[in-house]
């Protein structure tokens, strides 16, 4: 496998224009002869389906939920970044680029990130034109707020439901193309495998979740926009159905997987409350604009927050990082929360929480103003905890949230498997070792609305359309494999544990050994235990029901089976990267102040893993990262 990132030469600011000009075009009348499969209908998938159909391509779109509008992008709360500089605070594409590269701790490609910053403004224009009701100032102009890792106000938002509004916009555009006959949507469908013929991605095997029937779909290109793999930890802020299956199958068919150990643990989530908890809920980072994070100064202080006087509180982020204060990037905020709790200063019943306190902002701006900004988040918090954040500080703790790692893609968003493109969170491309807040919506829409329409033509121009027939023996082979997996799961006799129990066990193993802080011993232990757990899973899991109708336990079993394999690669990657960077903290590599310490001499590369059969260690390919426009520095938010 040779990985060529395909980055255009020339000055940073001209690369994207250069690529667009150099890309081959397809005659508008010929586009309709090309069939493209898009898997996933989140921001990246829906926007790609819509914009490609607008160009004239035939799109088959698949999603796992009952409607494309449910994809988990919908749950993104805080906002979307753009370098509009509407508030005249000296923002620019270059500054957004720099903040994003630095926020990612210098582990992403300069060219990709610069393009993202350049496109950011067009996304806002596009979304406003399609009727996204962004927050406005009294004068009718768009409002912005600040997010972690930035000292400008560049985040556009719709209360705490920005992802919902952007997704419904993209969904609307996609449904318009359904009406035009250029997109067909197939909901309640799971992708079981990617079909590769003569080294090119030529289709998928899909399973109808209502009937259990396997289906073959051939195409000229396949786009995966299947989101992240955060659910490998079982408890995360991801939706219940979010999974790694399609991406993992693509990996096993020849797409390299890059930096899988880069997992973002979000600092402001509602803490775990019990053994039966099914998922974790995020409280938007935007609340760190107005909220102050603190713990009691004295370890073991169990008084109610109101009874702890001001001088006995430690506003540790403000004290330690006076310049950025509560708005330090997510990885820094998460690590600090863990350090405070490890030191016995955690609050709440479990001691695994810190306070996020809005009382100063309420005193300053009034309850009504604060409620206008965050109202729906307060309601959500109250529903889950039974407490009112306007009266008592919220308790928060870090939780697995976003995965920067994913399938490796070149500058054109094509994976190492020709014909397979990967968009949004499912790829690894833009966020390095840590994603800044409000950047995932930006990336998803940049990939789908603007990048893939410009780059996919270059690939398609090289092939003739409609060459693949679903009757090809490779389809039969893949279908057989997919069916075998289902049959094997249903055939396990004497199952002793449910799928959930196995998933929880895997999650806990990873959280403890490959979570907020990692070390060699823990990672090696996990590498030993994952195969054992996997083996137990395949002998002891109990999957009820049949494979010929809707069977949610079976669906989940299939996904957990893939997580069990993927987990090993993630841990292997974490073990290989003997440095700390962004969200990836190796305890062996810290500054004396316990900040993440990078090792640029040894690890300034993208770790892209190639599948090498189920019994062999995957092959590591290193894509060296060249920094020609920014100076690598130790991140400093003090």
């Amino acid at each position: 496998m040779r990985l060529n990132p395909n980055i255009p030469t020339g000055p940073l600011a001209e690369k994207w224009d250069k690529r667009r000009y150099a890309g081959k075009l397809i005659n508008p009348a010929n586009k309709r002869h090309f069939n493209i499969i898009v898997v996933g209908t989140g921001l990246a998938g829906a926007s790609a389906a819509a914009s490609l159909a607008e160009l004239g391509y035939n799109i088959k779109s698949f999603c796992i939920q009952d409607s494309p509008r449910r994809a988990h992008s919908i749950a993104a709360q805080g906002g979307i970044n753009a370098a509009k500089n509407y508030v005249n605070d000296n923002d620019s594409s270059k500054r957004l680029f720099y903040d994003t590269i630095k926020g990612g701790d210098f582990r992403s490609r300069e060219a990709n990130v610069y393009r993202l910053a350049q496109i950011s403004n067009q996304i806002i224009d596009q979304c406003v034109a399609m009727g996204v009701p962004f927050a406005r100032e009294y004068g009718g102009q768009l409002a912005t707020r600040s997010f972690g890792g930035a000292q400008v106000s560049r985040t556009f938002y719709t209360r705490g439901q920005t992802g919902q509004q952007l997704l419904l916009g993209a969904y609307g555009s996609m449904m318009r193309q359904v009406a035009a006959g250029r997109v067909t949507v197939q909901p309640r469908t799971e992708i079981m495998d990617i079909v590769v013929i003569d080294g090119q991605a030529r289709g998928v095997i899909a399973r109808n979740l209502l009937t259990g029937k396997m289906e073959r779909h051939a195409a000229d290109a396949v786009i995966l926009a299947t989101g992240g793999y955060g659910n490998v930890y079982c408890l995360s802020t991801n939706a219940m159905a979010s999974n790694v299956t399609a991406a993992w199958r693509a990996y096993k068919r020849g797409a390299a997987c890059a930096n899988p150990c880069f997992v973002q643990i979000h600092p402001t989530c509602i803490p775990v409350h019990g053994r039966h908890q099914s998922k974790l809920t995020l409280m938007s980072e935007s609340m760190r604009n107005d909220g102050r994070v603190w713990v009691p100064k004295k370890a073991g202080d169990k008084r109610a927050p109101a009874l702890i006087p001001e001088n006995e509180r430690d506003y540790y982020l403000e004290n330690r990082y006076p310049r950025f204060g509560n708005l330090v990037p997510r990885d820094v905020a998460s690590r600090n929360a863990k350090q405070q709790c490890d030191a016995g200063k955690g609050v709440g019943e479990s001691g695994l929480a810190v306070y996020l306190d809005l009382s100063d902002a309420i005193r300053r701006n009034g309850k009504a103003e604060i409620f206008r900004k965050y109202g729906n988040l307060f309601e959500m918090y109250e529903k889950i905890t039974g407490e009112d954040p306007l009266k008592t500080p919220m308790r928060i703790y870090p939780a697995v949230h976003y995965t920067m790692g994913g399938l490796w893609v070149d500058y054109n968003l094509m994976s190492s498997l020709p014909g397979l493109f990967v968009l949004g969170e499912a790829n690894f491309s833009d966020h390095g070792a840590n994603r800044l807040g409000a950047s995932s919506l930006m990336q998803g829409l940049a990939d789908g609305y603007f990048i893939i329409p410009a780059t996919i033509g270059n690939y398609l121009a090289e092939i003739s359309p409609g060459q693949t027939d679903a009757a090809h023996p490779q389809f039969a082979l893949c279908e057989e494999e997919a069916r075998n997996k289902i049959d094997r799961l249903l055939a396990i006799r004497g199952g002793r544990h449910t799928v959930n129990e196995f998933h929880r066990e895997l999650g806990l193993l990873l959280w403890n050994n490959c979570g907020l802080a990692k070390n060699e011993a823990g990672l090696k232990k996990a590498l030993l235990e994952i195969p054992r757990l996997r083996q137990r899973f395949w002998h002891e899991v109990k999957v009820p029901g049949s494979g010929c109708d809707l069977n949610q336990s079976l669906e989940r079993a299939g996904r957990v089976a893939d997580f069990m394999e993927f987990a090993e690669l993630m841990v292997l990657d974490a073990l290989n990267r003997e440095e700390s960077c962004g969200c990836h903290l190796r305890e062996e590599s810290q500054t004396p102040e316990q900040e993440a310490k990078r090792d640029d001499n040894r690890f300034s590369y993208v770790a892209a893993w190639e599948y090498n059969g189920s019994h062999e260690t995957p092959i590591l390919h290193k894509e060296e990262l060249a920094f020609e426009n920014v100076r690598l520095s130790q991140r400093d938010y003090k």
Partner: protein, 248 residues
Amino acid sequence: MAIINLKLKVWRQKSCDEPGKFQDYASGPVTNDMSFLEMLDVLNERLTMDGEEPIAFDHDCREGICGMCGAMVNGYAHGRQKSTTLCQLHLRHFKDGETIVIEPFRAKVFKPIKDLIVDRSAFDHIITAGGYISINVGGAPDANAVAIPQDTAELALDAASCIGCGACVASCPNAAAMLFTGARVSQFALLPQGNPERSRRVKSMLAKMGELGFGNCGNERECEASCPKNISIRNIARLNREFIRAAF
């Protein structure tokens, strides 16, 4: 936190073609800080180990925004708690020993699939009929080119907050989709960007709604009362005004 026991009457139905019936279950001891769906998770774990098929129910984000979950709980869509989706409903609102009746959203258009799961794809068809602004990607004017008053933008967002869960339809004696359709029509009627297609949109979406077999509004206001996102029936009034405006 307290431990409680609940008696559950759950609608079980293998498929659309087979008749369904209520089945009694004991929740077993559950803590009242658990969510309603977590209670069903625990029950399903038990059913699985007892060799029974677990109860099928739709859910995904479990934070009240994707709109995938939903069931009638004691006769109320998403349960009695105001502005709450089923996944956000917590057991602290139930008493120890209470009986809870759980059944799927019922409406002619929402065909049963299995147990608590129904087919709500009709909502996608209504959106496909015009619930968007017809603009291709590329060439949009600067986002600040058109000023929109703050309160107008907020009203549009109130309408746009609909999560498409179907509680409004399930609660309506006529199984009307007026609140759902009205919310989308309102969002674009309020915004200047929606203006060019204003008439076409409302006529097309309403026609589709009727064609799919949804009923009409009878001013019962059940939809508004059951809506987990507090979508106001003012949006139905606006839908009607838009329709009259388009007709003449």
